[in-house]
Symmetry: C2
Subunit: 483 residues, 2 copies
Amino acid sequence: MSEQMGITVKKNENFSEWYDEVCQKAELSDLRYNVKGFIVFRPWATRIMNLMYEFLEKELQRKGHEPALFPALIPESNFHLESKHVEGFTPEVFWVTERGKGEKLEEKLALRPTSETAMYKMYSLWIRSWRDLPLKIYQRCQVWRCEGKATRPFIRSREFHWIESHNVFSTKEEAMSQVKEDMEITENTLHKEFGIPFIFFQRPEHDKFPGAIHTYAADSLLPDGKIIQQPSTHLLGQNFSKPFNIKFVDKDGKEKYGWQTCYGPAVSRMMASVISIHGDDKGLILPPRIAPIQVIIIPIFADNKKYVLKKCDDIKNELKAYIRVEIDQREEYTPGWKFNYWELKGVPLRMEIGPNDIKNKQVILARRDTQEKTKVREINVAETAKVVLDEIQKNLVEKADKFFQKHLSESKSIEELKKIIKEKGGFAKVNWCESVGCAEAIKTETNGGDIRGIRFDKQEKPIGKCVYCGKDAKSVVYVGKSY
Amino acid sequence: MSEQMGITVKKNENFSEWYDEVCQKAELSDLRYNVKGFIVFRPWATRIMNLMYEFLEKELQRKGHEPALFPALIPESNFHLESKHVEGFTPEVFWVTERGKGEKLEEKLALRPTSETAMYKMYSLWIRSWRDLPLKIYQRCQVWRCEGKATRPFIRSREFHWIESHNVFSTKEEAMSQVKEDMEITENTLHKEFGIPFIFFQRPEHDKFPGAIHTYAADSLLPDGKIIQQPSTHLLGQNFSKPFNIKFVDKDGKEKYGWQTCYGPAVSRMMASVISIHGDDKGLILPPRIAPIQVIIIPIFADNKKYVLKKCDDIKNELKAYIRVEIDQREEYTPGWKFNYWELKGVPLRMEIGPNDIKNKQVILARRDTQEKTKVREINVAETAKVVLDEIQKNLVEKADKFFQKHLSESKSIEELKKIIKEKGGFAKVNWCESVGCAEAIKTETNGGDIRGIRFDKQEKPIGKCVYCGKDAKSVVYVGKSY
C-alpha cells in the first residue's frame, strides 16, 4: 500500500506525469467520470478550494461587492444581444433543448459559459438612477464550456468552478478604478495567500474577451516554464450596457449608459497553480493559509496507547483555537505510513508525539517544505507551531517568486527569442510593431509562443525595432507558450 | 420612495400576497428573469442563505462528512440503472442534447435533478474494502427540476440551491444511525439556528423517494397552516449499491454490497420558512444567527455630522469582534426612511445615535421582533447588544414553536378531519388502515389533505379504527395540506 501510494515520477524530470500522479494519488480529482471533459473534485481538493473561495469572497465583500445567485440557464436570444460575445462563446456552449420524456423546449437554453447575458438583463431592471450605482455583484458558481482541448484536472475541463464579479459605474474612470481593484484582489489572494506570482498584461486587440474594450489577464507560470492564465478583468465600457439597455438618470438629470467591468477568478484553475508550483517529489505542499489541516499530529503508540493519545488530545485542544489541527488516530496504519500519507496530502506541519517525547516534555515538529525536524519544548508548542506555519507560508511565496523572476527574459532578436522559448520557457520581453501578421509569425517561429500583451504594472516604452519585421516598434510585449 | 417601500398587505389577511411582497420589496428575489420557473436570488437573500450554508456545512463536517464537487451533467444511461429512480425523475429532467452550433451529442445528458446516479458511479470505483467505509460525502450545489407547479420564490422554482449528502456503510444498522444523525443535523440547524420547527415523518409507501426503502421527511408549517416539506433523509438500503456495483470486502473476507443513505437540506426552501414564519407586517425578521447584519447603527445627524459619525465608528469597532454590525451612512436618506428600510430587511437590532445620546453617554436600541426601544448606557453597549441578540433569537424560536404546537390536532372522524383541515390547517392526527384507497379518499374528502406519515420521534400505537373506512387501523398518521 505504502509503495503504491508514493509519487513515482520526479517533478523536474517529467512535470506533466508528476502532475497527473499527484492529482490522482493525493486524491484531488478523478478523471473516470463517464462524461468526456468532466472531472470529479474529491474532498481534499474541495476543502482547499473552499478555503480559497473564502479568501476571495472576504476580499470582494470587504471592497463592497455583494454575492447573488443567477440562473445557470440562459435563453439563446439573450446571447445574441452582443454580437462579439455570441460569436466568441457559441462554439463552446452546451444547449438544453428538451425536457422530461423528449418534449422540445420553445427556445434553446445555454448552460452558462459565463454570465454577462444572464446578469445584464436583470441589471437593466435594477438600475434607474445614479443612487443605484455603483452596482457591484458577484456570484460563486460553476460554468460549462465545451472546449476541444485535452482535459487536464484543474487546468482545463468542461466544467469549472469560479467567481464572476460584474460591476456597473456611472463613469469610465470609476470602471477603470475597478479594474485596478480587481488586480489588488488578485494580489491579496492569489499571490499573498495562495503563493502564486503573476503579471497582469493588457492583452493585444486580437486576444481580448469577446465584447470587451480591454482585457487585463494575470499570467502565471507552471514549473515547465509554460504560462497559465489566471484571473482576468475586463473593461467592458458601454459595449454591453447599450444592447442590454443598462441606463441611469445621472445627478445632472440626463439619462446615460452605465460603464461596466467584469472579473473572473477561477478557483479550480488557481488550484492547478497551487499543486504545480509548491509541490515536490513527495506530493503536494500546501501554503498554511489554504491547508484544510495545518498541523497533523501523529501519535507514536508504544505500550501505552491511552497515555499517548491523551497527550495528543491535550495539545490539539491547545492549538485548535488558532490552528486547523487533527490527530491521525487510525490503528490500521503505522506511523511511517502516516508520515508518507500526510506528506502526499501536503499538510505543512507534522507533529510526532511518543512516550519518550512525553517523558522529555517535548514534541517533534517536521516541516513539509524543508523536511527539517526539530524538537520543541511542550510548553512552547502552540506559539512555535504558529511561528513555523508563518515561516512556511513566507518560504513558499518566496520560492515561487524566485522561480517566476528567473523566468523573465529579454530578447533582442528572433533567434534569441526562439532559443529562450525553446530552452528556458517563461516570458521573453520583446519589441513589437503591433501587427497581427508579426504576432502570427512569432508564434510560428517560436513553435507556439503567444504575445501576452503589455505589462500593466509598469510603463515600458518601446525603443527600437519590432523583433520580427524590424519596423519601428509600437509596444513592449511579453512572449511565451501557454496552456 | 418610503411609501412604495413599505409592505401594503397584512400577513394574517393574505399570507400569499404578503409573502410575494416581502420577497420583492426586501429585494430577496426577482421573478422577472426570462426563463420560466427560474428566479434570481438577490444579494440580501444570498447573504442569508450563505450563513445558513455555513451552519449546515459546519455541522456536517463536525460529524465527519466531507465536501466534494460532482459534475452537473449526468449521462442518460446512468439514470437507467435504478428503475424507480429513472421513472420518478425523468419527467422533470432538463436534457442537454447539443453543443456549439447545433452539433448533436452522442448521448443525452441530464442536468442533475439530484446526484445519486452521478455520485454512485464514482463510489463503486472508490470503495474496495471495509477500510474505505463509512464513506460520508456531501456537495453544496444547485439542482434543476422542470416541475409543472407554479413558481413561488424560495418555495418552488425549477432551479434550487441545496446540499446533498450521500453515505455508504457496511451494515444496515449503521445506515439507520446515519438517518438519525441527519435528523439531529436538521434539529441543530433548521430549528435551533434558523428557528423553524418541524416533525420528521416516515412517509407512507406510496410517497417515498424514488429508489428508497424508507423516506423520512421533516414537515414544517407556513403561516397559512399549509405544510412545507423541509429536508428529507432516505434509507436507500442496497437498492442503489446493487445496480451501481458498490461492493466492499468486509473484515470476514467476504464481498458485500454497501448500505446507503442520502439527505438533502434545500437551503433555498429553508429560506422560504424563515421569511414566512418570522416576518411581520413591516417585512422580514431575521433570527440573529443568520442575519448578515445583526446590528445596524443609524447616525442621527444634527449640526455636527463628523462628531456623530466618529462615535458610531467607535461603537462599531467595539462591537465588530463578535457582532455583524454596519453603519448606514447614506446622506440621501432620512433616519426615518432608514428605520423602515432596515425593518423591511429584517435586521434584528437597530442602534440610534444622535448628539443628545452622545451627550448623555447612551445609545438607543430598538428590537425588530418586539419593536421595544430602550436606552442603554454607552459603556454597556457591547455586552447589552449581545444579550439582546440572544433574547431575540430565543424569542423567535419560541414564537415559532408555539405556532407549530397550536397546529397539531387530532381527529376521530372524517367530518372532524374535514373541519380541521378546512378551518385550522396544520396537522391532524388520525388512525389509518394503510390502504392507498383510504389515503386517496381522505385526500378527496379533505380537498387535498395528504397522509404525511408516521411520526419518527415517538411511537404512537393505533388503537381504534381507520378514520375513513372504519376497519382496524394499522398506524397513526398525520394529515395536512401541503405546498
